[in-house]
């Protein structure tokens, strides 16, 4: 049985599993966090504690995509609107009931040393296992000189982190904002300031959309909206990119709690593979509730079992080194697309994608006779469509008319005329067709090396800094 326990994250934080709730509405109260722990969550980062705010209604908006709700999610909610006392009293109660779980206090106060010293002391007295400095909140709080107003300036990040470290007895995590040109600059500053770990990423500044009847962006607060923080499945690729950048940079790398669009165990595994020690989830819980923890934990365990991993450390960071600069990629690696005729359903999306979005090398010429070569040798898609539109078809009213003509149909489930064919002499191996194909495993990219030794751009241009050869 794989062991999901986290024993000493950022030095001293323990939790029964690496799945934490991010500092957000699901961690608003002690009652909520207790229920989350009962459901199986390993830790919770308390909704950011600071001087209470007044929130607006509404606060959220989302992007749906092709019938799926909440592909991306946006909020303009500020930090906790409850008093510091209330939050810390409940934190102490939770900690008493759940001594083995990780309770992290997310903190945000005005940018002065005394204020930070005070809040750190109070949070630790309440029993917090660690502190997360919210330098990432991208809306509202930043207008008041807090949140991302700190996280966007490396000097402030370093300074406030060092103030906190003067006082803190528990591990200090700095939560980073992605709303900056290079996240490594702030991560390095946090490390210089003495941070024990990092959390990344916070939400991304966004306007999710505009109501086309009222012309007011969502969410609508009495006829106006505000720049929000974007999260949910849509942001995962951005988060993974930033996590990898941090973990690959020796001046920035620290124990990292990964955040950004994690909705299932596969997402979580990706963050671990890029070096995260824990992950934090919010949007998926806001969508479906705490119960998603069951599959998060089970799925990860089953995957670890299948891969032979006994602990998170067995695979943590394995993918960091698989990302490199472009100039180190092998220019002589060659793959081409291959279509499985048995699986093809004849939607021909690969054909039009290749013609209009790639390199004009997927053709519908199995019946007319395969022709390899450059674009001028082939019928263009519009001609194909016009021919179909000009054809005569009629309702087959007799059984004979409805019968399939085997001679015209060919040997595969789909009529031969509709099964596209890849011209491997022109295919550049770009993957587009495999991306658009709706059938799993129908289009695969296969090795088509031409016996040339590997060579990178870096190697090819070595010593030729001023003049690069034309490829």
């Amino acid at each position: 049985m794989p062991d999901l326990r986290v024993s000493n994250f950022a030095g001293a934080i323990r939790s029964p599993n690496p799945f934490w709730l991010a500092s957000a509405p699901p961690t608003n109260t002690g009652e909520m966090i207790a229920r989350a722990f009962d459901a199986g969550w390993g830790g919770a980062v308390w909704k950011t504690i600071g001087e209470p705010v007044t929130n607006v209604s509404s606060r959220y908006s989302s992007i749906d995509w092709q019938g799926e709700r909440i592909m991306g999610f946006n909020n303009i909610e500020l930090i906790s609107d409850r008093t510091v006392e209330e939050n810390l009293r409940e934190m102490a109660e939770v900690k008493k009931r759940y001594p083995r779980h990780a309770v992290i206090a997310s903190l945000m106060v005005a940018s002065n040393r005394e204020a930070w010293h005070e809040i750190v002391a109070r949070a630790e007295d309440a029993g917090a296992d660690g502190l997360e400095l919210n330098f990432g909140c991208p809306h509202g709080m930043s207008e008041r000189g807090m949140g991302s107003a700190v996280g966007q300036v490396p000097e402030y990040t370093e300074l406030i982190t060092s103030w906190v470290k003067e006082k803190a007895r528990t591990p200090v995590l700095v939560k980073l904002t992605p709303n900056i040109s290079d996240i490594r600059t702030v991560a390095r500053a946090a490390k210089r300031g003495g941070a024990d770990g990092l959390s990344a990423i916070n939400t991304i500044n966004s306007i999710t959309g505009i109501d086309l009847d009222t012309f007011v962006p969502r969410p609508n607060v009495d006829g106006k909206s505000s720049h929000g923080g974007y999260c949910g499945p849509a942001v995962k690729p951005i988060a993974l990119n930033m996590v990898q950048q941090i973990m690959a940079d020796p001046e920035a790398a620290l124990p990292l709690s990964g955040i950004g669009g994690i909705a299932d165990w596969r997402d979580a595994a990706e963050f671990f593979l890029l070096g995260c020690g824990t992950v934090q989830v919010c949007t998926a819980v806001m969508h479906y509730g705490y119960r998603i923890i069951e599959d998060l934990a089970e799925g990860l365990e089953n995957w670890m079992r299948a891969k032979g991993f006994n602990s998170l450390d067995d695979f943590r960071g394995l993918s960091v080194r698989c990302v490199t600069e472009w100039k180190h990629l092998n220019l002589n690696y060659k793959i081409v697309a291959r279509i499985d005729e048995q699986k093809c359903i004849g939607c021909d999306l690969c054909h039009i994608a290749c013609w209009d979005g790639a390199h004009q090398c997927i053709h519908l010429d199995r019946v007319s006779g395969p022709v390899d070569g450059h674009v001028e040798l082939h019928a263009i898609p519009a001609a194909k469509e016009s021919k179909s539109r000009a054809s005569l078809s009629f309702t087959p009213v007799t059984r004979r008319e409805r019968a399939v003509d085997p001679a015209e149909h060919g040997p595969y489930p789909t009529p031969l005329a509709r099964i596209p064919r890849v011209d491997e002499t022109e295919c550049v191996g770009c993957n587009l067709c495999a991306c658009v194909c709706p059938v799993d495993g129908c289009i695969t990219m296969i090795r088509a090396d031409q016996g040339v030794a590997p060579e990178t751009w870096d190697e090819r241009t070595k010593g030729a800094a001023c003049e690069v050869p034309r490829s």
């Binding site: 092709q66 019938g67 359903i345 004849g346 939607c347 021909d348 999306l349 054909h351 039009i352 519908l364 898609p381 519009a382 001609a383 194909k384 469509e385 016009s386 021919k387 179909s388 539109r389 000009a390 054809s391 005569l392 078809s393 009629f394 309702t395 087959p396 009213v397 007799t398 409805r402 489930p413 789909t414 509709r418 709706p438 059938v439």
Partner: protein, 460 residues
């Protein structure tokens, strides 16, 4: 003669209840969810399968984006009777049958219901389809500019069924003048008089015809073209005559006693209940034949109240002409099937009931041999022959040289042109009885061919 308006059929609550829609409309959200499922195939098989080549993914994706007006116009550009076709098309053997989803073990996209969704929204908007003056697609007939010299053209469309309506609308949308002449009181042909009410209500067929009238097509009702003189009159008023006259009365059973009062052919029965002239049936009804119209009539008899409905067919189950989904549906309606049984004679008993004498037959190759001593008499209250239809175009053959073969008008499938260059034809009178969508496709092609012919004449 002036442009006639189209009367509405009063709503009959009993008819509405007994013939409630087989496939109710999608809700707005269900339509979007379904539209999102569509893969948006390139050169889509559904579009190719449709006789009018509606750009199916094109109109479906417009539903998904909320562009309902664009969706409806996309449909109407290919098929002006998009609303009725959405309800009556046997989509299982057309667009939905061609959907690639089948090959992924997924349900095909509900194209008909989506089309209806777009058409209902368009109808509710009260808008009319815009003129067609966009450039022609490469390879399509007609000048590349899409504008014809022949726009001063005047065409008479004889019959107000789907073929004529489609032909007239296409002509009108391209700037020509079209007049529809109809023998009956209402337009729509079989859409109004002959389609099962649970698929398409007569009122909806009339609403669609009224849209075409509002587009500027002229309608003349009660116009029975039955003499050479009437033809001459039309020829002097119009450059071309389009024949969308459908098929004539249904073939007779050719058995003794069929002139009996209790015998009513399937099309008569369907027209009678759809127009409110027949509201109830009781007892036992026997339908003879196993085509789609026979099924419609048998189902209607059940819904009108007949306790027992037999469908009697001289061949076996595997030979029926009806679509399989129609056959399955009628079994659910409670229709009972009597296979390999042939009617011999019908007479009435002392109580006014009908006694239908039948005999069991067996099939040897394609011929049917009676089985000795297998006579059986069925007592029934109504006998409904539904064994195919036969066209009536003999007048045209005799006086205008329009060629007829096997009872059908001979016309070029691509242009609808008949042996007489001033006469074009499409629909059931040419194809012997297919679907509404086939008639629309034929009418549209004939319209383009007439515009082309006028163009050629103008440049001659």
């Amino acid at each position: 003669m002036s442009t006639a308006t189209i009367p509405a059929i009063p709503v009959d609550p009993q008819l509405r209840e007994r013939f409630s829609e087989l496939k109710p409309a999608l809700t707005a959200q269900a339509a979007v969810i379904e539209a999102d499922r569509c893969l948006n195939c390139f050169d889509a098989p559904c579009t190719a399968a449709c006789p009018t080549h509606i750009d199916v993914p094109g109109f479906i994706k417009r539903i998904a984006t909320g562009n309902l007006r664009g969706s409806a116009i996309r449909i109407l550009d290919a098929n002006i009777l998009g609303a009725s076709c959405a309800r009556v098309c046997p989509v299982e053997v057309l667009c939905e049958g061609a959907c690639v989803m089948h090959r992924q073990n997924r349900k095909p996209i509900q194209i008909a219901l989506l089309q209806r969704h777009a058409m209902d929204a368009f109808d509710a908007s009260g808008e009319l389809p815009p003129a067609l003056n966009q450039p022609n697609a490469p390879g399509a007939p007609g000048p590349a500019s899409g504008t014809w010299e022949g726009t001063k053209l005047r065409v008479a469309c004889i019959g107000a069924g789907p073929a004529s309506l489609a032909c007239a609308a296409e002509l009108k949308r391209r700037g020509a003048h079209a007049t529809v002449l109809e023998r009956r009181a209402l337009p729509g042909g079989l859409n109004t008089y002959g389609v099962a009410e649970y698929k398409l209500r007569a009122a909806e067929s009339l609403r669609e015809a009224d849209m075409i009238r509002r587009m500027g097509v002229e309608f003349r009702f009660g116009a029975d073209i039955n003499s050479a003189a009437a033809l001459s009159e039309l020829e002097s008023e119009f450059e071309f005559l389009f024949l969308g006259i459908g098929l004539g009365a249904m073939q007779r059973l050719a058995i003794p006693g069929e002139e009996n009062a209790g015998v009513m052919n399937a099309l008569e029965l369907i027209a009678a209940y759809k127009t409110g002239h027949l509201r109830e049936l009781h007892g036992t009804v026997v339908v003879v034949g196993a085509g789609n119209t026979a099924i419609d009539a048998a189902n209607a008899a059940r819904r009108l109240g007949a306790e027992t409905v037999y469908l009697l067919y001289r061949r076996s189950e595997s030979d029926i002409a009806a679509f399989d989904f129609e056959y399955q549906h009628s079994k659910q309606e409670g229709v009972q099937f009597l296979w390999r049984r042939q009617p011999l004679a019908v007479r009435s008993d002392a109580h006014g009931r009908l006694l239908l004498e039948t005999i069991q037959v067996r099939q040897v190759d394609r011929s049917l041999l009676p089985i000795p001593d297998s006579h059986y008499t069925i007592a029934c209250d109504l006998l409904v022959p539904a064994i195919g239809q036969s066209p009536l175009a003999h007048l045209l053959e005799q006086v205008r040289g329009v060629a007829i073969r096997d009872g059908r008008i001979e016309a070029d499938p691509l242009t609808g042109r008949t042996a007489n260059p001033r006469y074009f034809a499409a629909g059931d009178c040419v194809n012997g009885g297919r679907e509404v969508v086939d008639a629309v496709a034929g009418g549209k092609r004939a319209a383009l061919a007439m515009l082309n012919a006028a163009e050629v004449a103008a440049h001659a």
